[in-house]
Symmetry: C2
Subunit: 119 residues, 2 copies
């Protein structure tokens, strides 16, 4: 069920490489990779759960409200992290030639269904 939603996000996103559903504690629930994916999605999830924890701490110190989304652009990939609940987030990896705006939109569109399935 989770896998279907993740697959929908990755396959509908131009340049989509993979997606992970993950706890902020670094424990992955589900992941989906496009065939040509060369990234270790589990490692991606673990690394970015650390990052996201750090950002949530910063947001608390700065009193800027709850974290909703993080987008990271590196030389080779985009990673878009969308917060789902207090405990879980979904992250989408895209090629740099992929459609970043589309990725953000797809995560936003599928978030309610993921949230519902997590309860």
């Amino acid at each position: 069920m989770f896998k279907d939603i993740l697959e929908r996000i990755v396959s509908h996103c131009s340049g989509g490489v993979g997606a992970v559903l993950m706890g902020y504690d670094g424990i992955g629930i589900e992941q989906y990779s496009a065939e040509e994916n060369l990234l270790d999605l589990n490692l991606v999830g673990i690394e970015y759960s650390n990052v996201t924890k750090e950002i949530r701490n910063a947001a608390e110190v700065l009193k800027v409200g709850e974290l909703e989304e993080v987008a990271i652009k590196t030389e080779r990939y985009y990673v878009i992290i969308h917060s789902l609940t207090e405990e879980y987030f979904v992250a989408l990896m895209l090629e740099r030639t992929g459609n970043y705006g589309q990725g953000r939109y797809l995560l936003m569109r599928e978030a309610p269904e993921l949230r519902q399935a997590l309860v």
Copy 2:
């Protein structure tokens, strides 16, 4: 000189709240606030330099290339972090009603001049 560039970024960006030029070590170089700014920009810089350090570590572990940009959306603000050199970055804070795409563009447009002034 730095201040002029930061002012240009903030004032040309719809919803721009402030900008900081900062080292990844948490030492600020310059900052500019729009009048109505209620955020402590120095604290913003320090908190996000920690975040950015964590992201650079993740990028190194994952071998996804150098960090170029981070965008963080919280309940109340957008923060866009644009990497300038090995040691420095510029961060722009925007209201949630502000123009996020415009902010990204302005940072990209002014980055070469900031980079040049840093040498």
